[in-house]
């Protein structure tokens, strides 16, 4: 008998059963793929670094002398280390299919000898590079600007030697793959590397140290070895923060999807169960035991959930991969849990469905048969259903019914409101992050001050570098602009690496001095003020914390061979080198023999040009300085940190597609279930003379109101949640207080409108199905 009840039930309530089935598939798919992605993303960097055999300490020294000093230091202390030899290449000497590649940051070549492990795009280790072949890091390879494809010709010239290479592919290169390292490499064969190396080559040495000695950095700092760059594993971890930013977005998406799944399940099961109450009442009335009645429904939901979860499990694998596709271009994100985790999650979803069903059927015990027949209402109620009254309002009945339905059944619509709010937030939070990162204001976070344009080229610094040489270049640019009747301040950031100490605490940090038409007070400071005299410095909060100093304290800073005492006059925030930084007074006498590198030449026009003039001037600079690249401030920052915002853009596009698909699906299924549930009311309204158009409008207005509430909620929550979710990531990068760049038109209008119109339209089209309900069906309603 129970089998036949079940069979009849599945047949008769086809629509609702199908809706529940689809929602279970969706929930299993979201939960399985999201949990697996969560596990993969959280452990991604550690597992990637382990696979790549990343050292515990990575020191890059500039020349053979420093390399020998380091080797002696390592031997003496007994550190396990290896050295990767690299040759620095002038980016202008790299041709792509006969044309300049256009890359303008530090780039070098190296072979696989003593290298950390590198992987191809399919995560397979590259163990051999043949002569004449070259690999580029994913950072360059996937940058649309360079338009690179496998098989292209890359020509490298160095000190009169030229060689053509065939581009073999891209590498996932843990040491040189992050935009924030500021240095990347091309991988060639050992023979090709030897061909270019020689006395004239500008060598760099990457010293990879494998040690768990916590005092290593102290020892190294005391060894007085000049380095270009040093980072421990955690610092290297941090250089991938931008990739992790994208991963974090995927993480948030995954968590929201899990939440959405649970809401959908709860809503659907409650909804379908309320449909069953009348039958439950009848069964109770004819004396069937509660246990047996519950058994029928639990069996039904169990069978539906098992089949649904199995399908959801199968779909979760491609869906999860699609979500991760944009994160894994630069790093290896292996599936930590593998298929088993997906399977467990799908099974858990099935269990949750049965649990929800079990909890819902608990009510059966409490109901008398007649309560159940009355759709689970025992007649006792403490709140009135009608909150607003048609008789007391002037609005049209259709609009009134829509408003009244929502107010009378807030709980029923709450799930929809939460789902749509979450969906919109999933779009607006990444949008706020992208806009903030693309904003020209970010320049302050990178040890720079406001400017209109940046002329960038790679400078190779050596022992003969001097401030005068840099200033001459600035003057020549300034003169060129003046010849064209353009008055501008032209300045540049010179960058050093210095040891800084206070009492017994010592660390190394990147240090900056603005040269040209710039003064230290033009930068942003969080506390205190700018260095206004020689002997004063501002430092970042991170450095202050590391050496335990505050404003007014004295610190010792070693520049080249000399060590001087400076007074800390201000604290600032920086995202360069994960928050480290020292800023000198503009006229402080520093030894430019030890300058490490410099940012691009910044140009700030004095006549406040409009957008059109700025574009014209940028084109003029590009034409006059063909070897250099002209950027706006925002473009320059994007170039420095890597094309993260570009990647985020593609992630955002994917999220928009996912959110819209979910919204459409949820809307179609929910409206379908409403139509099933409200069949009686629709038939009655038709019978008393309501047109189909009016009834579609009723359903649509109700959806529109729900979406409107969601849009308002999402708009209100967008900024605080951006601070809450993305703020900590920026803080980890060194920016303690971030003002998010909110673009009201996009955040408060464009995206809400997009979601609103697409979802409402899908709801309206589904509501058109009520055409099939006839007025005469009023007499057939159960």
């Amino acid at each position: 008998m129970y089998r036949s009840i079940l069979k009849k039930d599945l047949k008769r309530k086809k629509t609702m059963n199908m809706i529940l089935f689809i929602f279970i598939i969706l929930a299993a798919m979201f939960v399985a793929s999201s949990v697996n992605n969560l596990a993969s993303v959280v452990t991604a960097l550690d597992s990637y670094f382990d696979k790549a055999d990343i050292p515990d300490q990575w020191i890059t020294v500039p020349n053979e002398t420093e390399h020998e000093k380091f080797t002696e230091f390592a031997d003496q202390k007994g550190y396990d280390c290896k050295t990767l030899e690299m040759i620095t290449i002038d980016p202008n000497d790299i041709l792509h299919n006969g044309e300049k590649l256009g890359y303008d940051s530090t780039i070098c070549i190296s072979s696989l000898k003593n290298s950390t492990r590198v992987f191809d795009k399919n995560d397979r280790e590259i163990t051999e590079v043949k002569d004449g072949e070259i690999y580029l890091t994913a950072l360059i390879f996937y940058n649309k600007k360079y338009d690179l494809e496998v098989g292209d010709t890359i020509t490298i010239s160095l000190n009169g030697k030229t060689k053509e290479f065939t581009l073999k592919g891209c590498t996932k290169d843990a040491c040189f793959g992050s935009g924030m390292i500021g240095m990347t490499r091309m991988l060639v064969s050992e023979n090709d590397f030897d061909y270019f190396s020689g006395e004239d080559a500008t060598m760099m040495y990457s010293e990879y140290v494998y040690t768990d000695d916590a005092d290593f950095m102290d020892e190294f700092n005391h060894a007085e070895i000049s380095s270009l760059f040093n980072a421990d594993r955690s610092m290297m971890n941090m250089t991938y923060i931008m990739d992790m930013l994208i991963a974090a977005v995927i993480l948030v998406v995954s968590m929201c999807l899990i939440l959405i799944s649970m809401l959908i399940l709860r809503f659907t099961i409650n909804f379908t169960m309320s449909e069953e109450f009348r039958e439950i009442g009848v069964m109770k009335a004819i004396g069937i035991e509660v246990r047996r009645i519950r058994g029928i429904y639990i069996t039904k939901y169990f069978a539906t959930s098992v089949v649904g979860s199995a399908i959801g499990f199968a779909l979760s694998i491609p869906f999860g991969k699609m979500l991760l596709r944009n994160v894994s271009k630069n790093i290896i994100i292996g599936s930590t849990g593998g298929i088993w985790l997906n399977l467990v999650c799908a099974a858990a979803t099935a269990a949750v469905v049965v649990l929800f069903c079990y909890l819902c059927t608990r009510k059966i015990k409490k109901f008398s048969p007649i309560d159940a027949i009355r759709n689970g209402e025992n007649g006792e109620r403490y709140t009135r259903k009608g909150v607003v009254h048609l008789s007391r309002s002037r609005i049209s009945p259709v609009f009134f019914m829509a408003v009244n339905d929502i107010l009378s059944g807030l709980k029923r619509f709450a799930a929809m409101i939460i789902i749509f709010t979450l969906g919109l937030l999933l779009i607006t939070i990444p949008e706020n992050t992208i806009n903030t990162m693309q904003s020209d204001n970010t320049i302050y976070w990178f040890n720079m001050t406001e400017c209109d344009h940046v002329l960038s080229t790679e400078l190779l610094f050596d022992q003969s570098s001097s401030r005068k040489k840099l200033e001459d270049r600035l003057v020549s640019v300034k003169n060129y602009l003046a010849e064209n009747d353009i008055e501008a301040d032209v300045f540049q950031e010179a960058m050093f690496r210095m040891n800084i100490s206070h009492n017994d605490k010592k660390t190394t940090s990147v240090a900056f001095q603005g040269i040209g038409d710039v003064t230290a007070d033009q930068y942003m400071y969080e506390e205190g003020g700018a260095p206004q005299n020689a002997g004063e410095v501002a430092i970042t909060g991170l450095i202050a914390e590391q050496i335990d100093v505050n404003i007014g304290d004295d610190v010792e800073i070693k520049n080249g061979e000399s060590t001087k005492t400076y007074t800390v006059c201000g604290l600032y925030q920086s995202m360069t080198n994960m928050g480290e930084g020292i800023r000198f007074y503009q006229d402080e006498d520093l030894d430019y023999n030890y300058v490490g590198s410099a940012f691009g030449m910044q140009i700030r026009y004095k006549d406040a040009p409009d957008g059109k003039t700025l574009s014209e001037r940028k084109a003029m600079l590009a034409e006059h300085y063909p070897d250099w690249t002209a950027y706006t401030a925002g473009e320059y920052i994007r170039y420095m940190v890597g094309d993260v915002s570009g990647q985020l853009d593609s992630v955002k596009l994917m999220i928009i597609i996912v959110v819209l698909s979910i919204n459409i699906l949820v809307m179609v299924l929910m409206v379908k279930s409403f139509l099933t549930k409200e069949k009686g009311e629709i038939a009655t309204l038709k019978a008393i003379g309501f047109r189909t158009g009016s009834l579609v409008a009723w359903q649509t207005i109700r959806i529109a109101i729900v979406l409107l509430i969601s849009a308002v909620l999402a708009s209100a929550l967008s900024t605080p949640l951006s601070h809450l979710i993305v703020g900590p990531i920026f803080r980890m990068m060194g920016a303690q207080s971030i003002e998010f760049e909110i673009r009201p038109l996009k955040i408060f209008l464009l995206y809400p409108l997009l979601i609103f119109s697409v979802t409402t339209l899908s709801g309206m089209l589904t509501a058109l199905q009520l055409r099939k309900i006839k007025a005469s069906e009023t007499s057939n309603i159960e």
Binding site: G386, S408, E681, T692, S779
Partner: protein, 254 residues
């Protein structure tokens, strides 16, 4: 003058490839101010006839003329307008919108219609008048599950009356009510009829049918015969009308 004229009305359902002729060549007419009952055994096509002639359901063949217009030629919009402005409906199941109060349910068709040019206040006042007339004014602001079946059916009558329809169609209006409630509801319908509202109702109850002017007896989708009872004027006639009708129904095979 006839408000409703039905000529050769046929209604056929196709169920599982089988043709089911529910109504076959039905002919009858209803004069203005008449109160007509449709009786017959279960499954004879009473309700189908009611829904077919009121434009709630499509017809397979024939002609249904309401106030001189053939409703078979009307599109769904025109039919909806006709039901809203010119017809009233009462169902056995007292179906009302559960999120609205009784008063809101009653005035809902009036608010949707443009037939009567009046303010919302005036609509509410008319709703109150109708409720007062049917003795349910005290439940105006109640939810629908806070009132008895009889009260709810009277509220449904108020709803059917709110747009001052030319004709009311009622499908077993007392079918779900006890005797007292049933009598109260019929009392109201009779009163409406005396105020010149044409009524066509489907019923199994002889006492209900005895209050009508004419009874159509339908068997196997066709009107077998009709019985003219004349105008019901007072309670004293009821016993005699019921007895006569009962005898006729027994003759018909009831």
């Amino acid at each position: 003058m006839n408000i409703l004229e039905v000529t050769d009305l046929c209604k056929t359902y196709i169920t599982n490839k089988y043709q089911n002729n529910v109504l076959t060549n039905v002919n009858f007419s209803v004069a203005e101010g008449e109160m007509i009952a449709v009786m017959g055994p279960s499954g004879s096509g009473k309700s189908t006839l009611l829904y077919a002639v009121s434009g709630m359901d499509s017809i397979t063949a024939g002609e249904v003329s309401f106030c001189g217009k053939n409703i078979a030629d009307m599109n769904s919009k025109e039919l909806a307008q006709l039901r809203l402005d010119e017809m009233g409906f009462i169902f056995q199941q007292m179906y009302m919108l559960k999120n609205l109060t009784i008063m809101d349910n009653i005035i809902l068709p009036a608010c949707q219609s443009k037939k009567i040019d009046e303010s919302r206040k005036e609509t509410v006042r008319r709703g109150q008048d109708l409720m007062r007339k049917l003795g349910i004014i005290e439940i105006a602001n109640n939810d629908i599950n806070e009132v008895s079946g009889g009260q709810l059916q009277r509220a449904c009558i108020c709803r059917s009356m709110i747009n001052k329809p030319k004709m009311i169609f009622a499908d077993e209006p007392t079918g779900a009510l006890n005797r007292t409630s049933s009598e109260e509801v019929m009392e109201e319908l009779t009163k409406l009829n005396t105020e010149d509202t044409t009524i066509m109702l489907v019923t199994h109850d002889v006492k209900v049918a005895a209050k009508c002017t004419r009874v159509l007896y339908i068997v196997d989708g066709n009107i077998k015969e009709e019985y003219n009872l004349g105008k019901y004027t007072s309670q004293t006639q009821l016993k005699e009308r019921t007895r006569t009708l009962n005898n006729w129904l027994i003759e018909m095979g009831w």
